[in-house]
Amino acid sequence: MKILKALLIPAVVLAWWQAAAAFGLANSYLVPSPAGVAATAAALWQKGILAGHMATSLGRVFAGFGLTFLAAFPLAVLLGMNRRLIPYFDATLHFLRHIPPIACIPLLILWLGIGEASKLAIIILAAFFPLFLNTLAGIAQCDARLIEVGQVFGFTPRQRFLRIILPASLPSVVLGMRLGLGYSWRALIGAELIAASAGIGYMIIEAEQLSRPDVVIVGILAIGLFGYIIDYAFLKLAARILPWTGENETDDSFSSKGAL
């Protein structure tokens, strides 16, 4: 039933789109029919073009996200465990947080060229703050009463961190990772649209220059689909890593936020 509910709106949009194409309500050159887009997707997949661009983009996202984790997690732990350092970083990080990564693309291309380094830098800028801020919040908001348990039962500061603070902050860390992955995926596509020679963003911009709206639509749908798959896989992984929380602790869907 849940799947049927989820498929209702896409089905309505698809039906409307197909009807518009069938009755000639839209220019078929600008708005290709769903059947035409599906045929293009199948052709791109069979030739390995779609998979190749997707693999390039996914490789960049995971590499960039890994590098982000290596930077953001230790810094969040350092500040979370040494609150007196926070005033030194607070203003700078809040300033940087408000700069959209895409605004840095021109500068990054000037500094790093259009190769992989500039894409990785964009991903790091996009994923850093969700990961860093959520990890910091998880550590800072660790229930003081649980820390007291460690204190009474003779835990060393290291044991208190590894056995109490870190596991207690895991739901928040995982939420930050999930948000960071989503942000980095979106930022990467933006970067590939501007300067790249491979990747799903590049496929879209190249199709625009070749006047192939069907390929553009395939690219857009592939971005959404793979973004959804990554997010879903991460949610399932989180539920396995955090069995005591259920799925809602790391779920930032509209319904879990009370928006629906």
Partner: protein, 245 residues
Amino acid sequence: MTALALKGLYKEYRLPGRQVAALAGVDLAVAAGSLVTIVGRSGCGKTTLLRIIGGLEKQSAGEVAFDPPGARIAMVFQEPRLMPWLTVEQNLALVMRDQPPDEIKRTVGRYLDMLGLGGFKAAYPSQLSGGMAQRAALGRALCYNADIILMDEPLGALDAFTRRNLQEELVAIFLKHNKTILFVTHDIDEALILGQRVLVMADGRITAEVAVPFPYPRDAAGEPFYKLRAGLLASLTSPPAQRGV
């Protein structure tokens, strides 16, 4: 033999514009292997006293001495404070971190069975009732093999039936393991059912002490408790004094 000695224990908190003495000179000696209950109104300093003994707060003045020095202290809090990411079994094993795995498994299994939690060892704290969670917290304190167990109103949030059951279990554990237990409560009957000595706290001091000569298990509704209860009640109902300093 004295397991715990407190001398002139004093604790003050700074509030805006004034200082408040939570403890105003507590002297106490607790014999090894005894069960002492402390009863008093809310805010009389009972919890502060336990937190200082447990090393969670530092006294403003006075001494806390253990025999042997560096004695192992365990604490059962008002709420279970189980780690939500660990199963019941893992929560108990958490405090036995330096022991060999076989010993941990054996000890944890023994206490889980004793506390009636053998069938819930794989459950997470969120899946337990309040009474079961508090039992698990008690099991954790027992697994730690502490010299002294501090209990800060551990049964206060439970319903009357669960509370009565756990009081009986606690007495059984005390009789079997002969631990030194300091049990804080605001319930006079609970203090009388459990304690070999009942101390009354008021205004940050120990103001009265009653030895309870009756054997376990006890029924506080019985006639012999009448005078003891009346005496304790009189001590507790005297008006509180201002403790500003």
